[in-house]
């Protein structure tokens, strides 16, 4: 290994860009160029990852390192966090003593914790003793009943995080990834949507402090929440400021004022009983009613809530998508990106968020999309479509769309088709039975389905993420629905290219096919993007995760 340097100019663009990147000398244009190179060639990306790993390891191997310093830092970090933990325990001991004196919790709730109390005491004692080993602390840990409701330990899952936007919990009051067991939580930033195992959905914006007791009970200390309670969770209860808001099959919002002495409840649907902690009925509220409560007494109706106080699951979805939209449009490998937001000055233009390829809307009408406030185009007439021009050649191309099929009228139904029959043209369609596929005109009659013949195909009546991937280096075309492979087709003709040319979203123009002359899409599309690379399945699944209209896991396609 004795390479001889010389002064000959570097001709390999990757070599030039990569060296400058590792030296921190690559400017913004260089980064764009390197991103393009890596994005277009997965093998090069893998090689870059190897080189990057070696680069970091070289720095670590050749630079003298002090193991002791790392060990000392780690021990110090553990000690600092443990001291915070112990301080938190002390604080909770004090507050819990006060709480217990003020109001004992109903018996059934206390019993629900007895099964894990011994484990809790063991865990508490072992952690505290291991870290500090002081008699003083050992004494403080002993009052077990006072801390039983306060410490988060491994518990059966009471709720799962099904959606969030920028959520950040206080480090000692955070869930275990997406799992929420009984315990205290403090949401400092963002917004979360929890689904309890009982079937209740709860949306909580920050800032908020709350305690999950079990799958049917929670307590709100500060902040607000909206609860949507499925029939399976009737009786779901939110405790706040000394009363219990018990669901009778409903959707309701609860908030606790900043002074922590007063709470409010607003009934958006169904009915809620307001009860004292002892179980005495204080008030029954139904649709449209509200109440202010303080010190265990109902004071009267509450004022109308300020906007945003009780966000819905759809609000979480739309907010998350808006952030996603802003991120994705900065991707340098995008050819075009249509978030489907109408222009007030010209509703016949479909704006390309990357700025270069606006589409021309023909017939399709603006309607609502995946969430309230999100726009879509409705395609339901013969002439409906959006014309887009892609005159360039590509080696790889990925087309993605969020779409909802209302009905399937034709033998072939276009998602995105090159106009007419043009050699190297792109055809992304699905059959009357819902089977999706991507074809390149000029690939001969050799199309064959290789994978997932049992996939249920494009669903009707719900939103689905459609992704067509063409990769001439493989060479194949593939379709993914909601991130799962639904079809893959070999490209068997040599010297193929991908040259979409003039295309239509949601239709096919001027076909000479006497068997399938009409291929109009019937339904809504509310997001559409094209990349000049073959997106990985993991990326597509991430798109699905961040764009899914339902905040609960997507059901399998039909």
């Amino acid at each position: 290994m004795t390479p001889a340097p010389d002064d000959s100019p570097v001709t390999d663009p990757f070599e030039r860009l990569w060296t400058d990147y590792l030296e921190g000398e690559l400017d913004e244009n260089g980064i764009l160029e390197l991103n393009r190179l890596l994005g277009e060639n997965l093998q090069l990306a893998a090689r870059a990852a190897d080189l990057y790993s070696d680069h970091r390891l070289l720095g670590w191997t050749l630079r003298p390192t002090d193991q002791s310093a790392f060990v000392a830092d780690t021990i110090a970090r553990l000690r600092a966090e443990s001291e915070q933990f112990v301080a938190g325990v002390r604080e909770r001991l004090r507050s819990s003593d006060d709480t217990n004196r003020a109001a004992a919790p109903p018996r059934d709730r206390r019993e629900s914790h007895l099964s894990w109390l011994p484990w809790l005491l063991t865990a508490m004692a072992s952690i505290a003793l291991a870290v500090l080993g002081t008699d003083r602390l050992r004494n403080r840990v002993q009052p077990a009943p006072a801390i039983e409701q306060k410490i988060v330990v491994e518990q059966p899952i009471a709720a799962l995080l099904v959606a969030e936007v920028n959520a950040r919990f206080e480090s000692r009051s955070a869930p275990d990834a997406i799992r929420f067991g009984p315990g205290d939580y403090e949401l400092q930033e963002g917004i979360v949507h929890l689904r309890f195992s009982s079937g209740a959905d709860v949306v909580i914006p920050s800032p908020a402090k709350f305690t999950i007791r079990d799958s049917m009970h929670m307590q709100l200390q500060t902040g607000s929440l909206r609860a949507l309670v499925a029939p399976s969770a009737h009786g779901f209860t939110v405790d706040a400021t000394g009363v219990c808001y018990e669901d009778l099959g409903t959707e309701f919002g609860v908030s606790v004022a900043k002074d922590l002495k007063q709470s409010e409840v607003h009934i958006f649907g169904g009915a809620v009983d307001v009860k004292s902690e002892a179980g005495t009925l204080l008030s029954s509220l139904t649709l449209g009613q509200s109440a202010r409560v303080a010190e265990g007494r109902v004071l009267g109706p509450a004022e109308a809530p300020v906007p945003g106080l009780y966000p819905t699951p759809s609000d979480v979805g739309l907010l998350g998508w808006q952030q996603w939209r802003d991120q994705i449009k900065a991707d340098p490998t995008l050819v075009c990106y249509y978030p489907f937001e109408s222009r007030p000055d010209d509703r016949t233009v479909l704006t390309d968020a990357t700025g270069s390829r606006n589409g021309r809307i023909e017939g399709a009408r603006w309607v609502s999309g995946r969430w309230p406030g999100k726009q879509a185009l409705l395609f339901d007439r013969s002439e409906d479509g959006v014309e887009v021009s892609l005159p360039e050649d590509y080696r790889q191309l990925t087309v993605t769309a969020w779409m909802r099929v209302d009905r399937v009228d034709f033998g072939l139904n276009a998602v995105f088709n090159s106009n007419n029959y043009v050699r190297h043209g792109l055809h992304m369609q699905f059959t009357r039975t819902g089977h999706p596929y991507v074809g390149l005109y000029g690939n001969g009659n050799t199309r064959r389905t290789e994978g997932e013949p049992d996939h249920p195909g494009v669903p009707v009546g719900r939103w689905v993420h459609f992704a067509g991937v063409v990769d001439l280096d493989k060479p194949w075309c593939a379709v993914y629905l909601d991130g799962e492979l639904a079809d893959i087709t070999s490209l068997t003709v040599p010297n193929l290219r991908v040259r979409p040319g003039l295309c239509r979203i949601g239709n096919w123009a001027e076909g000479r096919d006497t068997l399938n002359p009409e291929r109009g899409f019937r339904g809504r599309i509310d997001e559409f993007a094209i990349w000049r690379r073959a997106l990985e399945p993991s990326e597509l699944r991430r798109h699905v995760e961040l764009g899914r209209p339902s905040l609960i896991a997507i059901e399998p396609a039909r």
């Binding site: 290994m1 004795t2 390479p3 340097p5 010389d6 002064d7 000959s8 100019p9 570097v10 070599e15 990569w18 060296t19 400058d20 030296e23 690559l26 913004e28 980064i31 390197l34 991103n35 890596l38 990306a45 893998a46 870059a48 990852a49 190897d50 080189l51 990057y52 790993s53 070696d54 970091r56 390891l57 070289l58 720095g59 670590w60 191997t61 050749l62 630079r63 003298p64 790392f70 060990v71 830092d73 780690t74 021990i75 970090r77 553990l78 966090e81 865990a123 072992s126 952690i127 003793l129 291991a130 870290v131 080993g133 920028n166 991120q327 900065a330 991707d331 990985e536 993991s538 990326e539």
Partner: protein, 187 residues
């Protein structure tokens, strides 16, 4: 900590509440964990911080470890999740929007973080040891002494362009050497 303590003994002591045993465990796995993380942490991430998080998390969860099972595998599982959390944090807070992020590189490294990709550290060290000293010194100037490329060029009486090219070729040769060794392992 007595140097003769076995891993099993350290774990037993830690589970019994002896916090000093934790230091022994950190010393035992420090190099392996840090090396593993350094080769996989995406640009912008701090592998040493992730390593510390992993050790602290292991301490917190020590009661969940079943004696007699593979502690190293258990620790690496925790480390992997810590790294994936770091990847998520980077994506959420900066990288995706950053004009200076290499998205494909980060994606590939994140993919590797979630898999059992073979470790390159030992092979890299071996390949490095086989370099002739005049060649190795260039890498030492770059990585140990952190000289600028211009300083390296001046010291070696070469142009800046030739120095860049030399470094690139050297890194490629090392990568190929490591890959050959991994292939020979049948990985």
């Amino acid at each position: 900590m007595p140097p003769t303590d076995s891993l099993a003994e350290l774990v037993r002591r830690l589970q019994a509440g002896d916090a000093d045993a934790f230091e022994g465990i950190v010393r035992l796995f420090e190099t392996e964990i840090r090396g593993w993380l350094i080769s996989r942490c995406p640009p912008g991430g701090d592998p040493d911080s992730v390593a510390q998080n992993a050790f602290v998390e292991a301490f917190r969860r020590i009661s969940e470890f079943s004696p007699g099972t593979d502690f190293r595998a258990w620790l690496f599982t925790i480390t992997r999740y810590q790294l994936l959390a770091e990847c998520t944090r980077l994506k959420r807070h900066a990288d995706y929007r950053s004009r200076y992020a290499l998205h494909s590189l980060s994606a590939e490294l994140e993919r590797r973080a979630a898999t059992d990709e073979p470790d390159r550290l030992l092979h890299l060290q071996e390949c490095l040891s086989r370099l002739a000293q005049p060649v190795r010194i260039v890498l030492e100037w770059r990585y140990r002494d952190e000289l600028s490329l211009q300083e390296i060029a001046d010291r070696s009486n070469r142009s800046l362009a030739a120095t860049k090219k030399w470094l690139f070729v050297l890194r490629e040769k090392l990568r190929e050497c490591v890959d050959r060794k991994l292939s020979a392992e049948g990985i």
